[in-house]
């Protein structure tokens, strides 16, 4: 494995694959905080040049975190199709990038290829891609999933209704949900983040959303984003959950900090298949985000792009219905400003799609980050162009419980109209029946939440 090169008259010698992968990243405050980022633009390019010549076999033969010591590595390693990997093992990362971008490389070819890739190879390709590369390559990949309805078809942009409330008040949650539905939002999921992580609270919210779905025959799925242990308890007590949720990290230690491991995910998987209310076969909702491993001091010196790709490698095992990176939530110490958030959003979407995940993105920022709503407008348009499966709908983009800003009900409706995208087909038929949408456009009564009183 060649780890030295000369750029603009200076010779760079890197010590390890881990160092090359980290320094090949675009600038991120999280890599700087971890002390593993490139010193300057020249060193960054040197790392990218070296990476472009490494082969897929080099990456597989030099594990950053050996499968013997990390269960996320084991999950990723066990999923590799040896026959397909054998065909491409001598490709360089440059060739992988170029293959993905070729005109004759279509969705099916990428789907097959993806079974021979590890998450580290996917991350490596992302590091050599420009923002527009990431948009185009991801745009080729169609990942359709089914819980109670199908989403992810080409030309479809779905929305998660996120009607959170600062005290988990059920009437308050329902009011905000009615507003979402009246804008045509909620086909990805009706998903609530609870303030109180208790089985009773989860049960109440699942019951209320399920009743609303039954009363109005809404073709969608519900989910309460408590810790998986709490959801399991609620489901065992009879709560109607169409799918289960969990945040993931890209290392075993990171997951331990989240209070989970593969055994617990397996247990929840079995439970939701036996006692969940969703049709399936896709019954999981995962969230991820660059920086969570470092935040838990569980990063093992690995950069945040590679770790993020590993989250997707783990997620893939459970064939989820939806996955989203909460890209700007974690804070400026990992993604400092809008430039870094936009880059990370495009990277995450691409890396998830290349691992055949139904990727959505929470296009978002916190108030201590150098970003504002205009930046979110920009990223949302880029992702819609890249074929993102869904984005988040919060009332006027302001989540009054989680205290951050995302995209709004208005934004999703606007992206659909300007980018010629539609809600999920079954959901759109329901919107038509409710008089909220016609011929793919909102009607004059859309935006009135009292339609549901």
């Amino acid at each position: 494995m060649k780890l030295a090169t000369t750029v603009l008259g200076r010779t760079y010698q890197f010590k390890s694959l881990k160092e090359v992968l980290a320094k090949a990243n675009e600038e991120k405050s999280g890599d700087q905080l971890a002390g593993i980022a490139a010193e300057d633009a020249k060193e960054r390019i040197a790392a990218k040049l070296i990476l472009s010549d490494l082969t897929l076999a080099d990456l597989r033969n030099n594990p950053l975190l050996p499968p013997e010591t990390d269960e996320v590595s084991r999950v990723i390693e066990e999923a590799v199709n040896e026959k397909i990997f054998g065909e491409i093992r001598n490709w360089s990362i440059a060739e992988l990038r170029e293959y993905l971008l070729r005109q004759d490389t279509d969705n099916d070819r990428i789907r097959r290829l993806s079974r021979g890739l590890t998450s580290e190879m996917v991350a490596a390709a992302a590091k050599l891609m420009s923002n527009l590369d990431l948009v185009q390559a991801a745009g080729k990949i169609e990942v359709v999933t089914h819980c109670n309805i199908s989403i992810g078809q080409r030309g479809v942009l779905s929305g998660r209704a996120q009607p959170n409330h600062p005290t988990d008040s059920v009437p308050g949650i329902m009011a905000s949900l009615y507003e979402a539905l009246s804008y045509g939002i909620g086909d990805a999921v009706i998903g609530i983040n609870p303030v109180i992580d208790s089985a009773d609270s989860v049960k109440n919210i699942l019951n209320a959303t399920k009743e609303g779905m039954e009363k109005w025959n809404i073709p969608t799925q519900n989910c309460v984003l408590a810790h998986i242990k709490t959801q399991m308890k609620a489901i065992r007590q009879g709560a109607p959950a169409d799918m289960v949720f969990q945040s993931l990290a890209g290392t075993e230690d990171g997951n331990r900090a989240f209070g989970i491991d593969v055994a617990m995910l397996d247990e929840a998987d079995e439970l939701v298949r036996r006692e969940g209310t969703g049709t399936g076969p896709n019954l999981w909702y995962f969230e991820t985000g660059q920086g969570s491993e470092l935040s838990a001091e569980a990063h093992h010196g690995i950069d945040q792009v590679t770790l993020e790709a590993r989250c997707y490698g783990l997620a893939r095992k459970y064939k989820p219905f939806i996955v989203n990176t909460v890209v700007g939530f974690i804070g400026p110490e990992y993604l400092y400003d809008s430039k870094q958030v936009i880059r990370a959003g495009l990277e995450d979407h691409f890396m998830g799609k290349l691992q055949q995940l139904p990727m959505g993105v929470d296009v978002c920022y916190t108030n201590h980050m150098k970003a504002d709503q205009n930046d979110m407008d920009n990223l949302a348009v880029l992702l819609a162009a890249a074929g993102v499966n869904y984005i988040i709908g919060a009332p006027m983009a302001d989540d009054c419980m989680l205290n951050y800003q995302s995209t709004s009900y208005h934004d999703i409706a606007t992206l659909r109209e300007t980018m010629r995208l539609r809600p999920a087909p079954e959901f759109e038929r329901w919107l038509n029946r409710m008089g909220i949408m016609e011929n793919g456009k909102l009607t004059s009564q859309a935006g009135d939440p009292t339609l549901f009183l």
């Binding site: 009011a175 804008y183 302001d398 009564q445 009135d448």
Partner: protein, 287 residues
């Protein structure tokens, strides 16, 4: 599906058709026309309801009053109305301001809280280097050693975190209620103090220093648009070096529009009591 529901749907559809025809022949719906400019006013603002022809006007008021979320805001085309968009921008400006504030010294004095600092240095650095906010300075450490009762049953620490406003707004209600609640359970608190520039995991270092059984950290949350004054309580059984996030129990959204501060104080006391009984916290705590 019952027949009255089908009838309702049918009536709805006819109404929708009628409205659409009207909309097609008449000038644009009310709210899409220019409204007289009214100034965006101060702190206590009555939610404005903008939907021009709601199916049920009273019902709409009820919906809007049930949540601080920005609903009933209407639209022009698919975009927000101008005033609603500007209100959002104003609230974002307020949130940014609160990150750079300082906790009121008189308030800290009133509750006898002495102050120490972390190695955060300044706000910019605090934002970029959370690791610095987890370490109390050497001077702070010796002050804690000198002033605090070691091995208390319950250690309470207050920190500005990302919003000094949150401390100013809620401490006077939360803190006495918490002390009363602990008292009612027969629990004794050690010597409380204030940490400037703290992060949640600063409790692990203080836990090592003072060896408390239970730890309550009252800390300002990252400011949101609805409230820049929201406080969290992070509560942990024996926090020490190596404690992970899932070991901590958190009550977030403590402010007048979320979990009421006095109630929060009492509830924290109950949680501490349960933790000490079960000798655990976080996801392993049975609530």
């Amino acid at each position: 599906m019952n027949s009255s529901f089908q009838l309702e749907q049918f009536v709805d559809r006819v109404m929708a058709e009628l409205e659409k025809k009207l909309a097609d022949t008449l000038p644009p719906p009310m709210a899409e026309r220019m409204e007289p400019m009214t100034p965006i006013d101060g702190e206590t603002e009555i939610p404005t309801i903008k939907v021009p022809l709601p199916r049920w006007a009273e019902g709409l008021t009820e919906l809007v009053e049930s949540t601080p979320a920005r609903i009933g805001v209407w639209r022009t085309g698919t975009r927000p109305l101008t005033k609603e968009m500007l209100k959002f921008r104003r609230d974002h400006a307020a949130a940014i301001d609160s990150i750079y504030g300082e906790a009121n010294a008189a308030l800290l004095e009133r509750f006898g809280l002495f102050a120490v600092e972390t190695r955060y240095e300044n706000t910019e650095n605090y934002l970029k280097r959370p690791d610095m906010g987890r370490i109390v300075t050497e001077a702070g450490v010796s002050m804690i050693r000198q002033s605090c009762k070691p091995q208390p049953q319950v250690q309470i620490v207050v920190s500005d975190g990302l919003s000094a406003n949150a401390i100013d707004a809620n401490l006077a209600d939360v803190y006495p209620a918490l002390l009363d609640s602990l008292d009612a359970y027969g629990l004794r608190a050690g010597t409380s103090f204030f940490v400037r520039g703290g992060r949640v995991a600063v409790m692990d270092q203080i836990g090592e220093l003072l060896q408390p059984d239970a730890f309550v950290l009252l800390i300002g949350e990252r400011p949101g648009l609805v409230s820049s004054k929201s406080m969290s309580a992070y509560i942990c059984y024996r926090p020490r070096k190596g404690t992970v996030e899932s070991d901590r129990t958190v009550i977030s959204n403590i402010h007048s529009g979320g979990t009421p501060p006095v109630e929060a104080g009492a509830y924290i006391g109950t949680l501490v009591h349960k933790m000490l009984e079960q000798k655990t916290s976080g996801i392993n705590l049975e609530m």
